[in-house]
C-alpha cells in the first residue's frame, strides 16, 4: 500500500511540475503581448527590447547576420534571429506575420499581391552582383549573354558550342522561389522566363557551392560573396569581369538590389534594426567587408520591372 502511495505521489508530482511549467509558459504568453506593444510607447528610451526575426534571401544573409551581431552588442535586450530560405519564403513570411523582416533579392511586387505589398515598407540595404560559375575543369572563361541564354534555356548542351571542350553541359539551377534565380533570369532573359529546369534545383547558395565543386562540366550562378576560387571559377560576361567595380555603372549586367521588408506597423525593435542597417555603422564598413556594394556607390538604379536608369 505504501508503495502505491509513493508512486501516486510521484505521479502527482510529475503532473504538478507539468502544470507549473505550462502555467509559467502561459504567463509568458500573457505578458509578452503588452511587452511588445509597450515598447512602442516607450520609444526613445535606451532600453530597447523585442524579438526581431527574419527570413529570406540566402545571398545577403551573412550581411544581415553580421549587422545583427553588432546591433545586439549595443542593445542587450533585443534578440535578432533568422535564416535564409529564399526570397519568396521571406516575403511570404513577412506578409503572413511569421517573421518581422523579409529579406529579398527582388521587389516584393514580383512575388506578392498588390494589397499585400501595400502593407510592406521597403529598405534597400545593399547591391549584390551575381555571376555565372563553372566547374574547375571547364576551359571557357567568358560567356556572352546570348550564350548564357542558350545554356539556361537548354538550347546549348555542349561546352564545345561555346568554345570549350567536347563535353555535356550540366546545368545546376536554383529553386523557382529563389531571388538569385529571379535576378539571374531577369538579367539574362528579360521578360520571357525560360521553361527549363536543368539537372538539379538547389535550395541555397551553399548547396550550389558544394555541388558545383564536386561535379565536372557544370554551370550555375552565385552572388559575388559566395565566390570561392578553390572550388569553382567565376566567368566573365560579355568580356566583363564579375567584380563590384563593374556593377557600379551596370557594365556587368547581372545584379540586384537587396531589400529588407517590414510591415508598416512593425514593432520598435524591428524598425530600429532596419534604421541601423541603413546607418553609417553598416553602410560605411560592413557592407563592403561582407562583399556587397553600398547603395550609395551605384550610378544607376533598377526598378521593379527591371529597367535600369541613371541616378
Amino acid at each position: 500500500m505504501l508503495d502505491f502511495n509513493c508512486s501516486r505521489r510521484q505521479f502527482l508530482g510529475i503532473f504538478g511540475g507539468a502544470a507549473a511549467v505550462a502555467g509559467l509558459g502561459l504567463a509568458g504568453c500573457n505578458s509578452s503581448a503588452p511587452a511588445s506593444s509597450g515598447s512602442a510607447a516607450g520609444a526613445g528610451s535606451s532600453s530597447l527590447t523585442g524579438t526581431v526575426t527574419y527570413d529570406g534571401a540566402s545571398s545577403f544573409q551573412a550581411l544581415v547576420e553580421a549587422a545583427a551581431e553588432q546591433f545586439m552588442e549595443e542593445n542587450q535586450d533585443v534578440s535578432i534571429t533568422g535564416s535564409g530560405n529564399g526570397s519568396g519564403t521571406g516575403l511570404t513570411a513577412v506578409a503572413d506575420g511569421t517573421v518581422t523582416i523579409g529579406n529579398s533579392d527582388v521587389f516584393a511586387e514580383t512575388k506578392l499581391d498588390a494589397d499585400q505589398c501595400a502593407d510592406l515598407v521597403d529598405h534597400e540595404v545593399a547591391v549584390v552582383g551575381m555571376g555565372p560559375v563553372v566547374s574547375l575543369n571547364v576551359t571557357v572563361d567568358d560567356l556572352s549573354l546570348d550564350q548564357l541564354k542558350g545554356i539556361f534555356s537548354g538550347e546549348i548542351t555542349n561546352w564545345s558550342e561555346v568554345g570549350g571542350e567536347d563535353a555535356e553541359i550540366h546545368v545546376l539551377n536554383r529553386k523557382a522561389g529563389s531571388g538569385t534565380r529571379a535576378t539571374f533570369e531577369a538579367a539574362v532573359f528579360g521578360d520571357e522566363t525560360p521553361d527549363f529546369q536543368g539537372e538539379a534545383e538547389l535550395d541555397k547558395s551553399g548547396d550550389v557551392q558544394t555541388q558545383i565543386g564536386s561535379t565536372d562540366n557544370a554551370i550555375s550562378y552565385l552572388d559575388f560573396s559566395h565566390f570561392d576560387d578553390t572550388k569553382f571559377k567565376a566567368v566573365k560576361v560579355n568580356g566583363v569581369e564579375p567584380v563590384s567595380e563593374n556593377v557600379y555603372d551596370n557594365s556587368f549586367p547581372i545584379w540586384a538590389t537587396e531589400h529588407m521588408y517590414c510591415k508598416k506597423d512593425a514593432d520598435e525593435a524591428t524598425k530600429a534594426f532596419l534604421e541601423y542597417m541603413l546607418s553609417d555603422d553598416v553602410q560605411g564598413s560592413l557592407v563592403e567587408e561582407q562583399g556587397f556594394i553600398p547603395v550609395s556607390e551605384m550610378k544607376v538604379v533598377k526598378d521593379a520591372e527591371g529597367n535600369v536608369t541613371n541616378k
Binding site: F4, F11, L24, A35, T51, T53, E65, D203, D207
Partner: protein, 308 residues
C-alpha cells in the same frame, strides 16, 4: 519401374536437401549484410563526427554565419527543450486517452472513432502535420515560428505512438488485479490511478523514452513550425518568460539539431561539414542513449515493482 521411381524420389529428396542448404546459406548472407550495414552506418557517423565533439566550443558555443561556423549549443538545448515541452503535453493526453480506451470506453462507436482517429494520425506523413501546424499555430494563432508551435506539432506526431504503447501496457495488467480492486470497493478511477498505472509503469516509461528518441530526431514537422533558426544569444538565468533572449520563453523561435543538419548539410565549407557530422554524431549518441536508457529504466522499474 520401381527402381526408376525410387531414383526419382531420391533425386527429389537430394534436391530438396540441397535447396534447403542453399536457402539457409542465402539467408545467412542476407542477415550478415544487414548487420554489417547497420554497424557500418553507425560507425561511419561516429567516425566522421566524434572528433568534432572534442573541438573546444562545439558543444558550448552558439552557431554563427547561419550555422556554418561556431558550435551547436543552442540547437542542442532547443532539441531537449522541445522534447520536454512535447512530453509535458503529450504524456498526460496519451496516458488519459489510453486509460479511457482501455478502462472506460465500452467496445462501441466511441472507441472505434477514437482509435480510428489515432490510427489516422499515426499514418500521416510528418510533413502534413508540419503544414497543419504552420497554418494553425504559426499563422492563424499568430505564434509565428515558435517552440510551442513546434512542440504541438511534435505532440501530434507523438500521441499515436505513446497511446499505443500505454494501451498495450494497461491491457497487459492481469485482469485479476483489476477485479481485486473493484471487489474491494475502489472505483475504476482509483483502481486506475493506484493500481493499474503503477503496475504498467515500467512498460509506460520504456515507451515514453523510446518515443522520445523518435521525437528528438524529427525534423520535417518542425521546418514550418519552430523555424530554422535559433536566437543568436540566449540567457539561461533569466526568468522573464516574455523576454526574447530568455532560453525558457516558449514563444521564441528555435531550431532542433535535426533541422540544423538539414539546413546546412549542403554548405560546402569544411567547417560547416565538420559541424554537420558533429551534429549528426550528437544526434546518434542521444538516440542510442534513449535506446539504452529505455531498456535500463524499464528493467529497473520492473525490478522495483516486483521486489516489493
Amino acid at each position: 519401374m520401381a527402381n526408376a521411381t525410387a531414383q526419382a524420389q531420391d533425386a527429389r529428396i537430394r534436391r530438396s536437401m540441397r535447396n534447403d542448404k542453399i536457402a539457409t546459406g542465402i539467408l545467412t548472407v542476407i542477415v550478415a549484410i544487414v548487420m554489417l550495414i547497420v554497424v557500418a552506418m553507425v560507425a561511419y557517423i561516429l567516425f566522421q563526427g566524434v572528433g568534432q565533439l572534442f573541438q573546444p566550443g562545439f558543444l558550448t558555443e552558439a552557431s554563427r554565419s547561419n550555422g556554418t561556423e561556431g558550435g551547436i549549443a543552442y540547437q542542442l538545448f532547443d532539441s531537449f527543450y522541445l522534447l520536454v515541452l512535447t512530453l509535458v503535453i503529450s504524456v498526460p493526453i496519451s496516458l488519459f486517452g489510453a486509460v479511457f480506451l482501455v478502462e472506460y470506453a465500452p467496445d462501441g462507436p466511441v472507441t472505434k472513432v477514437a482509435s480510428t482517429a489515432i490510427e489516422t494520425l499515426s499514418s500521416l506523413p510528418s510533413i502534413v502535420v508540419g503544414m497543419f501546424g504552420f497554418l494553425m499555430f504559426s499563422v492563424n494563432f499568430g505564434w509565428g515560428y515558435s517552440l510551442i508551435s513546434g512542440a504541438i506539432a511534435l505532440t501530434m506526431f507523438n500521441i499515436p505512438i505513446l497511446t499505443r504503447v500505454i494501451t498495450q501496457a494497461l491491457e497487459d495488467v492481469p485482469a485479476s488485479q483489476r477485479d481485486a480492486c473493484l471487489a474491494m470497493g475502489l472505483t475504476r478511477w482509483e483502481t486506475t490511478l493506484h493500481v493499474l498505472i503503477p503496475a504498467a509503469m515500467p512498460a509506460i516509461v520504456t515507451g515514453i523514452v523510446l518515443s522520445a528518441g523518435r521525437v528528438f530526431g524529427e525534423a520535417a514537422a518542425l521546418l514550418f513550425t519552430s523555424g530554422m533558426s535559433s536566437p543568436a544569444r540566449l540567457n539561461f538565468l533569466s526568468l522573464n518568460f516574455a523576454s526574447p533572449t530568455c532560453a525558457w520563453n516558449i514563444f521564441r523561435p528555435g531550431e532542433s539539431l535535426a533541422v540544423h543538419i538539414y539546413k546546412i548539410y549542403g554548405e560546402g565549407s569544411p567547417e560547416a561539414q565538420h559541424i554537420v557530422w558533429g551534429a549528426a554524431a550528437v544526434l546518434m549518441i542521444c538516440v542510442l542513449l534513449f535506446n539504452v536508457l529505455s531498456r535500463i529504466a524499464g528493467k529497473a522499474l520492473a525490478r522495483r515493482m516486483t521486489a516489493e
